[in-house]
């Protein structure tokens, strides 16, 4: 599994690289660390200021990649690239296609709260177009050197397309040699005030949803190959945060979510529920493209 790291010389770059390292080590595969610099004007100008600028950018990129080299060491085979592109996303997509990577890792926006994910301008664009899975890290993601990828938790629902998502995650687990956990979220934040139907009315709906979710997970598990092993869980709480906290998460675990079926095939397209999961996750999230139907 070849991983492309969208690297920059800031905390976001360090996080993205840390996650890339985790994934590459699990898969026994290589890393492509790429930093994108702005394109300069192609034609030499009179005072050659653009050449000077280009030299500055190149030096800056080399310095950044040097830092990345130090972070990776010789733990996994890695190539280091610097690309000039008019937009970071464009540059990364180009590299991803050339290098035929399986996944792109990106750090959180600088404005993110520590421990949480917030997509920055680059990731936001990717979340609605990427051709390969996108992995986002929470702000300040820094697994220690002994941490290994230990499990992928895939968010599913009883909707038909969840089976495809679970299959994709299961396949990924097979390649990374980690177990899979299917998780459905039951969030009880929809009670109406006031109402004559009672202030526990929404629990009835949530409990029914929970029952449907459990049934749906059973059906998915039955259709997955036995290896690697898959378990199930229900994250249940009054808010998304509480639901997330209601189940145990391991360090070295990542959450996988599928793309909405409103988006194009084979592309990442984040739906509203997946957006909520990412917003409340405290571990890295992997967003899978919408798979082809059977």
């Amino acid at each position: 599994m070849k991983v492309l790291v969208g690297y920059s010389a800031d905390s976001g770059g360090t996080e993205a690289l840390a996650l890339g390292l985790l994934l590459a080590r699990a898969g026994g595969s290589s890393l492509v660390v790429c930093t994108i610099v702005p394109e300069t004007w192609g034609h030499p100008s009179m005072a050659r200021v653009d050449a000077e600028y280009a030299r500055f950018l190149d030096q800056h990129a080399q310095k950044a990649l040097e830092k990345a080299r130090a972070q990776v060491g010789n733990r996994v085979p890695a190539t280091y690239l610097c690309r000039a592109a008019s937009a970071v996303r464009e540059g990364l997509v180009e590299v991803a296609e050339q290098e035929q990577v399986d996944c792109i890792t990106l750090g959180s926006a600088r404005s993110a709260t520590r421990g949480h994910i917030r997509a920055g301008s680059v990731s936001t664009g990717f979340l609605h177009t990427a051709p390969v899975p996108i992995a986002l890290t929470p702000k300040g993601y820094e697994p220690d050197s002994v941490t290994r990828l230990c499990r992928i938790t895939c968010a599913v629902s009883p909707a038909a397309e969840s089976l495809q998502t679970a299959r994709a995650a299961h396949k990924l687990c097979g390649r990374l040699k980690v177990p899979l956990r299917l998780m459905t979220f039951v969030v009880r934040d929809r009670q109406m005030y006031p109402t004559g139907a009672g202030y526990d009315a929404e629990n009835l709906v949530a409990n029914q949803w929970r029952a449907q979710a459990t049934e749906g997970q059973g059906k998915i598990i039955a259709q997955l190959p036995p290896d690697p092993p898959a378990t199930t869980g229900i994250a249940d709480g009054k808010t998304w945060k509480a639901a997330f906290e209601s189940v145990p998460w391991q360090s070295g675990e990542i959450v996988a979510v599928g793309s909405s079926n409103l988006g194009p095939l084979l592309r990442v397209f984040l739906g509203s529920n997946a957006t909520k999961i990412i917003r409340h996750a405290t571990i890295p999230c992997l967003i899978l493209p919408r798979p082809e139907a059977d």
Binding site: Q191, Y193, G196
Partner: protein, 487 residues
């Protein structure tokens, strides 16, 4: 003989309270043994005020002043008194069960399946029909906003129902073809519910402020044009008129049960439930009476009949300027929207509960994995309510709502007395004062208001109950979740 006893046992089987509690348990209940939300008395009062105001005061005068004359003020007081009595009785029943549900759930756990199904039939009138009635009233205010802002409203054919009440039945002959804005309102609210939108306690508090604000504005402006002459003759149709109007006006108090139903969710229910019920009732009744008195002081009773967007029109005529009417109509459009949302929500969740109990087909309780809400149930309710709002005149709807609500409360009040005898040991978070006088008074007063409703309302109600009864026999009795357990 055995078939009769089997049928009777079906009618009287009760849903175990443990099962009810399990159905409605929250995420953390397993660990914390019912961690209570702890609704405060102030919040609870706001719930009562929020869900009550907006169901009728904006439209009901045009229907009831012709019936009662200026004595409609007395009708408001009578209806308020009845609402208070029934709310107190309901609060006792709600406090017997450790979860907060609808009167259907309470009846199922305490009085049995037959009574619960009957109550549910009444609740569909209280919620489904009142949602349609409220939507019809809303369309008048929306049109008023259009008239003021754009200089012209919608054509009359799109504003009112094609059917009219004719003594015993409905017949074609209304002014319009369809009440389009009402249909749009129902669809909009349903879409929001499908998407999972809800009103939080905070949003409710804001809505309450909007409603109190615009009604206070009405009172303050209208009082400047007050003329005592308009109040004479005070009761042109005597007490009969007053009573008849009170029956319809009871509709404006629907929603007060949002307080009673909180049951065990309130901190210290013994003290706070009656406080919140009475406080909400006093706020609502005094506002209603103030609005009625000032409106009656401004224009002669004869002018109320058939007035669309009544309160806004009164302000327009009085001040000769558009903006007070616009503010009022705009406020009404917003707040009635929120009431429609709340009422439709209630309807979908009651049907959801019934289908979970097996009394309605499974379709009603399937949760859609994308929206995480019961989409099919919401769509069915939306179609049903939108059709009624489109084609049935509002006066019929108000009376039907009053009928359903009053009968449901009569059952609840009777239930309180029955349960004091059959289940004296059950803990009650709240007990009605002056037992048995108060529940008896509640029953008698409901009967009195019901007796004053139209014959047409009786007929429609009877037809509805027959449909419900047939459905129960043909489907619900056999598919009940309790049935499966027994076999």
């Amino acid at each position: 003989m055995t078939r009769v006893t089997a049928f009777l046992s079906r009618l009287t089987r009760k849903k175990p309270i443990e099962l009810l509690a399990r159905d409605m348990s929250g995420a953390e209940d397993a660990e914390h043994q019912h961690l209570k939300r702890g609704i405060t008395p102030f919040q609870l009062t706001m719930f009562g005020v929020g869900s009550t105001i907006g169901t009728g005061i904006f439209f009901v005068l045009s229907e009831t002043v012709p019936t009662a004359g200026p004595a409609v003020i007395v009708s408001f007081l009578i209806a308020g008194l009845v609402a208070g009595l029934t709310a107190l009785c309901y609060a006792e029943m709600a406090s017997m069960i450790p979860v907060s549900g609808s009167s259907y759930s309470y009846a199922y756990a305490t009085l049995g399946e037959g009574v619960a199904f009957f109550v549910a039939c009444c609740l569909i009138l209280e919620y489904g029909i009142s949602a349609a009635a409220v939507a019809v009233g809303w369309s008048g205010y929306l049109n008023k906003v259009f008239e003021i802002v754009f200089g012209a409203g919608l054509p009359a054919s799109l504003l009112s129902a094609p059917l009219v009440a004719d003594g015993y039945s409905l017949k074609p002959g209304g002014d319009g073809v369809i009440n389009l804005p009402a249909v749009i309102l129902v669809i909009l609210c349903s879409l929001l519910l499908i998407r999972g939108a809800t009103e939080s306690a905070k949003a409710n508090a804001i809505m309450v402020m909007v409603k109190l604000g615009i009604l206070a504005m009405f009172v303050l402006i209208a009082v400047t044009g007050f003329s005592a002459e308009n109040l004479k003759p005070f009761a042109p149709h005597g007490f009969a008129g007053v009573s008849a109007a009170a029956g319809t006006i009871f509709f404006t108090y629907v929603g007060l049960d949002a307080v009673s139903t909180a049951g065990e969710e309130v901190q210290n229910p013994k003290r706070n439930l009656p406080i919140a019920i009475i406080a909400a009732l006093i706020i609502v009744t005094s506002l209603y009476v103030l609005v009625a008195v000032t409106a009656l002081g401004v224009q002669p009773a004869a002018e109320f009949g058939g007035q669309e967007a009544g309160l806004a029109t009164i302000l327009q005529n009085l001040t000769g300027s558009d903006w007070p009417a616009l503010v009022l109509a705009g406020g009404a459009v917003i707040s009635v929207f929120s009431v429609t949302l709340v009422v439709l929500y209630g309807q979908t969740r009651i049907l959801f509960a019934m289908s979970r109990d097996g009394l309605l087909p499974e379709l009603f309780y399937r949760v859609n994995p994308h929206t995480l809400s019961p989409v099919a149930c919401t769509v069915i309710v939306a179609i049903f309510v939108a059709l009624i709002a489109a084609f049935v005149p509002d006066a019929v709807l108000w009376e039907l709502t009053s009928m359903g609500t009053l009968v449901a409360f009569m059952v609840v009040s009777t239930g309180v007395i029955v349960l004091r005898h059959t289940r004296p040991d059950m803990p009650r978070g709240f007990r009605v004062p002056f037992y048995p006088v108060l529940p008896l008074l509640s029953i008698v007063s409901c009967l009195y208001l019901v007796a004053n409703l139209n014959r047409a309302t009786y007929e429609l109600f009877a037809v509805w109950l027959v449909i419900g009864g047939i459905f129960y026999l043909a489907y619900s009795a056999r598919h009940s979740r309790l049935e499966k357990k027994a076999s």
